[in-house]
């Protein structure tokens, strides 16, 4: 059953993204929000983990949280989709359930 995972923690300080990637079933979607958006950027100590996970999972990132933190979309890992809040709602609708990795 398709599932939406939300991650709102920085991958540099907390283990939430790593746990999400370890325990999300193949074909799931992962939406990075709040401080979680730093996980979407390339050239970091967390990028390899995310790029590897993208073989099995679809990654999204909340645009308004990127913009708030001054992260230019040009710095995102290729293949991560930027969504707005209505895109967040659509992801929640299109998946059967939502798990927040708090």
């Amino acid at each position: 059953m398709p599932m939406l995972h939300t991650v709102n923690k920085s991958p540099f300080e907390r283990g939430a993204l790593e746990s999400c990637v370890r325990l999300a079933i193949k074909g799931s979607s992962v939406l990075l929000i709040e401080d979680g958006i730093y996980g979407a950027t390339k050239g970091t100590t967390a990028s390899d983990m995310v790029e590897n996970a993208m073989k099995d999972l679809d990654f999204y990132v909340l645009g308004s949280d990127l913009k708030a933190r001054g992260v230019d979309e040009g710095r995102l890992i290729d293949g991560i989709t930027v969504v707005d809040y209505s895109g967040f709602v659509k992801l929640a609708v299109d998946n059967d359930k939502v798990q927040a990795w708090l």
Partner: protein, 135 residues
């Protein structure tokens, strides 16, 4: 039973440092009254919640770990612990509370509620749920 859903409570935080573990347990106990299909997962630092031998007398904080023993009486007996989380923390199942229930379909035999599972097995278990609450 059209109103029965599979509820999963995912516990990822250590006890006492923050209140999430305790307030999660309060939700779990309430959920028992709603006749839903309830499962618990303890993963990452959540495995510390069910460590045995907790004694909070020096802190003045209430020791809520005995309450986990009541889960079996509330028909909450699907408790999954991630093996990899235990290993990373130098723990084995012997370091945990022994949680059991009496199986009414098997002449009230006492059975273990705790199931230590691999990450791969846990992925499948989490996939089967309808509602996921995280603490």
């Amino acid at each position: 039973m059209s109103d029965t859903k599979k509820f999963l409570f995912v516990n990822r935080k250590a006890p006492y440092g923050t209140i999430y573990a305790w307030e999660s347990l309060e939700v779990i106990l309430i959920s028992a009254a709603f006749e839903q299909d309830v499962s618990l997962v303890f993963v990452d630092d959540g495995v510390f919640q069910i460590a045995k031998g907790q004694d909070t007398s020096d802190l003045g904080i209430k020791n809520f770990s005995p309450t986990y023993n009541a889960l079996g009486d509330y028909d909450i007996n699907k408790i999954y612990i991630e093996k990899e989380s235990l290993e990373a923390r130098g723990l084995t199942v012997d370091d945990l509370l022994k949680l059991t229930y009496e199986d009414e379909d098997d002449d009230w035999a006492e059975k273990d509620s705790i199931h230590v599972v691999s990450s791969a097995e846990l992925v499948e278990i989490m996939d089967q749920q309808d509602v996921v609450l995280s603490f």
